[in-house]
Subunit: 142 residues, 2 copies
């Protein structure tokens, strides 16, 4: 069966700061979220999780944008993950990805929405998340 | 109930390249993995997912390292996520985090392993992943 590995590495620096690396890519300095005592201005593991879903949705959508021959002019999104304190500890309860696409003509709006529906289904990172992932898609002609 | 939001944003640049942002943090340029046609040398959504687990495990472990009063001298880890092609598309089948800790004295080795066991249980990002997350912990005195 076809199989691929993805490997990262972590080095503890000091206090609650660490370097996150990945074979040859620029390191990412990571701390806990400021609301849990971390320093301001750093990526947190929680941000990286939400960002992995946010970015994978676009890359998966692009496959279907190509397949449906949509002339996509712009794509922006933002994703929000919600975390709650539960009896088991801190838990993500859901991630919502808000997508704004710009297409060339009216007729492509429905195809764009269909491309995102397919992306939601096939996005491997979204599928690897145990909390519900919601998509909120809008598209305009521009 | 106590609740927190984590928000990222994505801007499509060109081809299969995007910028991943997060309120004031340095942007991360993201592409698909080279094995799926992406350019070399960029973070991928898959790496970010694995890295979010890898980094969260350390930050959660540090809480228990403090609680158990372990004099931790160094911590390194690497995490590998395995992905397979299934009938439903590409799917993560498991993530393994390999941890190497350096403690001050022999007696702390067991406490360090216990701290990681607790981290595995309470790490919110690991809990947000639907595939199994395994921990492989070693500790030495140094």
């Amino acid at each position: 069966m076809a199989s691929w590995d993805f490997t990262t590495n972590v080095t503890w620096l000091e206090g609650e700061k660490l370097n996150l690396g990945c074979h040859g890519m620029p390191d990412i300095a990571v701390t806990p979220p400021p609301q849990f005592g971390g320093e301001e201005g750093y990526w947190t593991p929680e941000d990286l999780l939400v960002g992995s879903v946010d970015s994978c949705m676009l890359l998966t959508a692009l496959f279907f944008v190509g397949k449906y021959k949509i002339n996509l002019k712009a794509y922006k999104s933002h994703a929000t993950g919600n975390m709650e304190k539960t009896a088991e500890g801190l838990r993500f309860t859901g991630i919502t990805v808000h997508v704004e696409g710009t297409v060339s003509e009216e007729a492509e709006i429905e195809s764009f929405k269909k491309a995102l529906e397919m992306a939601e289904k096939f996005c491997p990172v979204s599928a690897a998340v145990s909390c519900p992932v919601h998509l909120d898609v809008s598209a305009t002609v521009g």
